[in-house]
Every structure is written in structure tokens, then in C-alpha cells.
């Protein structure tokens, strides 16, 4: 067959790219090679936007290798309201489980960070928007109580849209429960370090996330009480440009510092030393 006869059929064919090979940055819209992004701890190499990472990724980023022992792994919601919208809440939960391979929106456990024993709670936005229901509240409360008993630091990483609507008033009361647990924990002299990742809103920001003795946030994370859309609809005004960003919160005195993901572990280790050691090392 002559080569020119083939021309017609080959030209319009679209080049197929394996899914997820390239990622678009949410912030600067740059197209990034996924491998490069992963190597960079899921931080955009161009604009320093910190992509959301899973709770498991976060734990391996922060914890000393092999030191993490999960607690409350099998805690599951009892579906207190027997909630149903288009699909029953229980089904939503099991779907989230198949999607994320974690049982709830928080993973808690004891671990070492730079050799320091710490209780760690990490939220996972991929599981129902990191929303706090009875299980997230319970895991946090158990972790805070254990940290208090052992008098070791408590560390949490928030990434959540807020309370879990499907658990109604019970989810609202988790704000109270986690705050109570922190109140008890703070009778001891160990620090509570709260890390805010993108996004931290509603019932999570208005409870344990903002109660850190020391609060860090990742760059450009969105943090606030009410969602920007709700505020816009209420006040019928355009919002300021950097509204509800980590930088905005720092400027308004709501957080202590913005820490790049690559420096997060080291910064925590330094801070743990400064806040927990009595004698010179």
C-alpha cells in the first residue's frame, strides 16, 4: 500500500493519554506531570499550591517510619438519625470506604515524630469531605484523652468541609465533644499543635482546629467559618482577593505561621523540643 493512501485515516486520531498522568494545578492552572508532583510532596512546583493529600500520605510524611499505631480503626457510625436522602447514609459510608479504602474521615493513632511520642489525628478530605460525625469526634476525643493521660503532645491535621450533615445534631455535638476533650487535655502541660490544611471550615474550624496552642497552616489553604459562597450570598458584595486564605488568617492574627509541606515535619520536631524539653539536651 502506498504511504500517501493511509494519510486520511490517521490524521484526526486523538492521542490517548493514560488517565491521571498529568494534573492541572487548582491555583495557577499549570499542567504538571503527576510523577513530578508526587516527588514534590504534591506541591505545585510553579506556584507552591499545596494539593490535598490523603490521611495516609500525611501520616507517612509526618511520622517516623513504622512508628504509627492506629487506634479506633474499626469505629463506624451507628447512623443515629437513620438518615436518607437520595441514597441512605450507610450506603454513602460504604461507598466512601470503597473509594478511599479508609473507614472514616479521620485516622488517629500514637506515633513518634523525630523520636517524640505524639498522639496524631489526621482528617481525610476524600472521605465525605473530611466531615466530622460521631466517629471523627470520637477518634479525636480518644486521642486527646490518651495524650492527656500520657502527658504527650497532641497533633491534629484538619482538612474538612465541616460537620457531617447526615448525623444532624449528633455531628454538631462533636464540636462540643472535641472541645471538651481539649479542655481536659490542656490541664496538662503538653502542647496541642493544630495544623490546618486545605480546606478547613465550619464545625471543624469552629472547634478543635482553632483550639491549638500553636496553629500552623499550609500555604494558600482555604480556612474559615462560613463558605465564601454563603458569605457572598448574604452580604451581596465581592469578597477580598485573598479572603479566607492561610495568608489572610496569618495577617489577622488567627494562626501562628504558614509552613511549607516540605518543612512541616522538621518544624514540628523543633517545636516539640522547644515546648516539651525541660533540661538542655
Amino acid at each position: 500500500m502506498a504511504w500517501f493512501k493511509k494519510e486520511k485515516s490517521t490524521i484526526p486520531k486523538k492521542v490517548k493519554v493514560p488517565e491521571g498522568l498529568w494534573v492541572k494545578c487548582n491555583s495557577c492552572k499549570e499542567i504538571i506531570y503527576r510523577k513530578e508532583l508526587d516527588k514534590n510532596l504534591k506541591v505545585c512546583p510553579k506556584c507552591n499550591y499545596h494539593f490535598r493529600i490523603s490521611a495516609k500520605e500525611r501520616i507517612s510524611l509526618l511520622a517516623d517510619e513504622g512508628s504509627f499505631n492506629e487506634i479506633g480503626e474499626n469505629l463506624a457510625s451507628s447512623d443515629p438519625l437513620n438518615f436518607k436522602d437520595q441514597i441512605p447514609y450507610k450506603q454513602r459510608l460504604s461507598e466512601s470506604f470503597s473509594k478511599t479504602n479508609i473507614r472514616e474521615a479521620a485516622i488517629a493513632g500514637n506515633t513518634l515524630i523525630g523520636g517524640n511520642p505524639v498522639m496524631l489525628v489526621v482528617l481525610d478530605f476524600a472521605f465525605m469531605g473530611g466531615s466530622m460525625g460521631s466517629v471523627v469526634g470520637e477518634k479525636f476525643a480518644i486521642a486527646a484523652e490518651m495524650a492527656g493521660e500520657k502527658e504527650i503532645p497532641l497533633l491534629s491535621v484538619a482538612s474538612s468541609g465541616g460537620a457531617r450533615m447526615q448525623e444532624g445534631i449528633v455531628s454538631l455535638m462533636q464540636m462540643a465533644k472535641t472541645s471538651a476533650a481539649i479542655s481536659k487535655f490542656k490541664e496538662k502541660s503538653a502542647p496541642y499543635i493544630s495544623i490546618l490544611a486545605d480546606p478547613t471550615f465550619g464545625g471543624v474550624s469552629a472547634s478543635f482546629a482553632m483550639l491549638g496552642d500553636i496553629i500552623f497552616a499550609e500555604p494558600k489553604s482555604l480556612i474559615g467559618f462560613a463558605g465564601a459562597r454563603v458569605i457572598e450570598q448574604t452580604i451581596k458584595q465581592q469578597l477580598p482577593e485573598n479572603f479566607q486564605t492561610a495568608e489572610f488568617l496569618l495577617e489577622h492574627g488567627m494562626i501562628d505561621m504558614i509552613v511549607n509541606r516540605k518543612d512541616l515535619r522538621q518544624t514540628i520536631i523543633r517545636l516539640l523540643f522547644l515546648t516539651t524539653h525541660v533540661k538542655s539536651a
Binding site: 480503626e73 463506624a76 443515629p80 445534631i169 471538651a180 474550624s205 469552629a206 482546629a209 489572610f248
Partner: protein
């Protein structure tokens, strides 16, 4: 002219008819007393019937009824010598929350509550009971004074929620609410909270950590408004959502005093007069007063350290779970 909600229409029609009859008969030589009595009895039965089967959405509307007694009404009706305190000492005074000291049955107490306001002008001034951070900070300031002076605290909850605004975010709405939750677990004095109307999410919670949670018969308390829930679930613009969706959402969310009692959230439901609190402020206030008396008496007899432990355990136990592999 009284303000009727849609579902009260049959009663409204009947009551208007009675008024008309009375008007017609005035100055004329006809005796319709027995006729009117009969109609009034019928109206009463009708009202009782309607109010015995209110849906959660109807209760939501009732809880927001503008004629319902507000915090300032209850203070006038059941307390004496109220001295209002103002300001958070940090930024400003938020009139969406009022608070101060007063005498209740002769006993000095701190009283704090959301105030929605009644006239249009006042409602705007009070931001419809939606507090900014300074409101919660003022409330905490007064609560801490109460602790120092050894006075019990009564909080009255009636808010659509914390205000979603630019200034609120700038001044730390989340921190203000979180800090109230945190501090209220440490306040070494009895705290009784009463949801008198609308218990809107975090803005309501920020004043209701305590030793007792009471709810008026037609009050609601929810993590999100039925409208907000419907908007999320059916992902439409608010314009397209209507009563049907709000009914479904408010039912699913379990927000009425009766639902919450079943869930073990509130300790008591305070009965309202037939037709709702707005029909009879005096009578409603009397019921509230009676309930408060009982609970204050119980709480002031409890040693403070056991009070704080019980307070902790109460909230610690909500949504406590067993390990189970459900999926």
C-alpha cells in the same frame, strides 16, 4: 391584626369569622353569645388538632415566628432588676447577643441570650440574632464574671446561626465559637441553656454548653437549616426549592425538641400554651420559670467538681461508639 402561619389558616378563618360576628352584633338587639361560644370552642379544637400533628418544617416556622417571646421578653417576664452589660472589651458591642445580671426568684444570676429583635428596624440593628465574634466574646466575658461571683448562668438560644460576613471571618468567627465551647467546659458554676426558638448550628452551640439543655415545645436545634440541607442535597438554586424539599430535609435532620429528646440531647421539653408561645407570652414565661426553678435548685446543690465532671461526661458520651467493622 394577628400574624398567622400558612398552616394556621383554618383557625385564622374561623377566628376572623368570630370577630366579624362580634362586630356585627355590636349595638344590635340580637343575642349570639351561645353561637360565638360554640364557634370559639370549635376554633380551640381545631387549633389543638393542628398543633397536635405539626410537621418538623411547621415547627421550624413556628420557632422563627416573629411574635414568639425573645430573650428580652423572658428577661422582663421572669426576672427582676436586669442590668445589661455591653461589649467584649476587644472590638465592639454586638447587639445580636444580650447579657448581664438579674434576679431570678430573688437569686442573682447571669443571663445571656441571642436577641433577634421584633420591629424591622430593631431586627436590622440586631442583625436578626446572628452574632459576630464579639457577641460570643461578650457572652464569655459575662460568663466568666458569673463564675467569679459564684452565680449560675442561664443562656437563652434563639439564632439562625453565626453571621457569615467578611468582618466576622477577619475577627475569627471560628475561634470565637471554638473558644466558648472550650471555656464553657471549665466554668465552675451551673449553666442551664434553653432553646427558646431557633437553635442554629455553631452560633447556637456557642452559648449552650452546660449542665442542662432545655427546649421549648416548638423550638428546633440543628446542625444546618432545613433550607441549607435541602440546597446541598438537591443541589439546586434556592429559588427552585420549596416547601416540599424543606419538609423532607427538616424531617431527615431530626431537629424538633421531641426528636432531640429521643436522641438524648435535651433534658426536658417545656410545654407551650396551645397554639404556641407567641399566643401567650405570660403563660409561656411561667412554664419556663417553673422549669428553670427546678433545674437551678438541683444544680446549685451539686458540688462544683462533680458538676464539671458530669458536664464533661454528658458531651463526651454523645456519639460514643463501639469498635465494629460495619463494612
Amino acid at each position: 391584626m394577628r400574624y398567622y402561619l400558612d398552616f394556621e389558616k383554618p383557625v385564622a378563618d374561623l377566628e376572623n369569622k368570630i370577630e366579624e360576628l362580634k362586630h356585627l352584633a355590636r349595638g344590635k338587639d340580637v343575642d349570639i353569645t351561645s353561637e360565638i361560644k360554640k364557634l370559639e370552642k370549635k376554633a380551640l379544637t381545631l387549633r389543638a388538632d393542628i398543633f397536635s400533628k405539626l410537621t418538623p418544617w411547621q415547627k421550624t416556622l413556628l420557632s422563627r415566628h416573629s411574635e414568639r417571646p425573645h430573650t428580652s421578653d423572658y428577661i422582663k417576664l421572669i426576672m427582676e432588676d436586669f442590668i445589661e452589660l455591653h461589649g467584649d472589651r476587644k472590638f465592639s458591642d454586638d447587639s445580636a447577643i444580650i447579657g448581664g445580671f438579674a434576679r431570678f426568684q430573688g437569686m442573682p444570676v447571669a443571663v445571656i441570650g441571642h436577641e433577634k429583635g421584633r420591629s424591622t428596624k430593631e431586627r436590622i440593628e440586631r442583625n436578626f440574632g446572628q452574632a459576630n465574634p464579639e457577641g460570643y466574646r461578650k457572652a464569655l466575658r459575662i460568663m466568666k464574671l458569673a463564675e467569679r461571683f459564684g452565680k449560675p448562668i442561664i443562656t437563652l438560644i434563639d439564632t439562625p446561626g453565626a453571621y457569615p460576613g467578611i468582618g466576622a471571618e477577619e475577627r475569627g468567627q471560628s475561634e470565637a465559637i471554638a473558644n466558648n465551647l472550650f471555656e464553657m467546659f471549665r466554668l465552675s458554676t451551673p449553666i442551664i441553656s434553653v432553646v427558646i426558638g431557633e437553635g442554629g448550628s455553631g452560633g447556637a452551640l456557642a452559648l449552650s454548653i452546660g449542665d442542662r439543655l432545655l427546649m421549648m415545645e416548638h423550638s428546633v436545634y440543628s446542625v444546618i437549616s432545613p433550607e441549607g440541607c435541602a440546597a446541598i442535597l438537591w443541589k439546586k438554586d434556592n429559588a427552585e426549592l420549596g416547601q416540599k424539599e424543606y419538609e423532607t430535609a427538616s424531617e431527615a435532620l431530626k431537629i424538633t425538641a421531641q426528636d432531640l429528646y429521643e436522641l438524648g440531647i435535651n433534658d426536658e421539653i417545656i410545654t407551650e400554651p396551645l397554639g404556641g408561645a407567641h399566643n401567650d407570652h405570660q403563660e409561656t414565661a411561667k412554664m419556663l420559670k417553673k422549669a428553670l426553678e427546678t433545674h437551678i435548685a438541683e444544680l446549685t446543690e451539686t458540688p462544683l467538681d462533680s458538676l464539671l465532671k458530669k458536664r464533661y461526661n454528658k458531651f463526651r458520651g454523645i456519639g460514643a461508639l463501639q469498635e465494629q467493622a460495619a463494612y
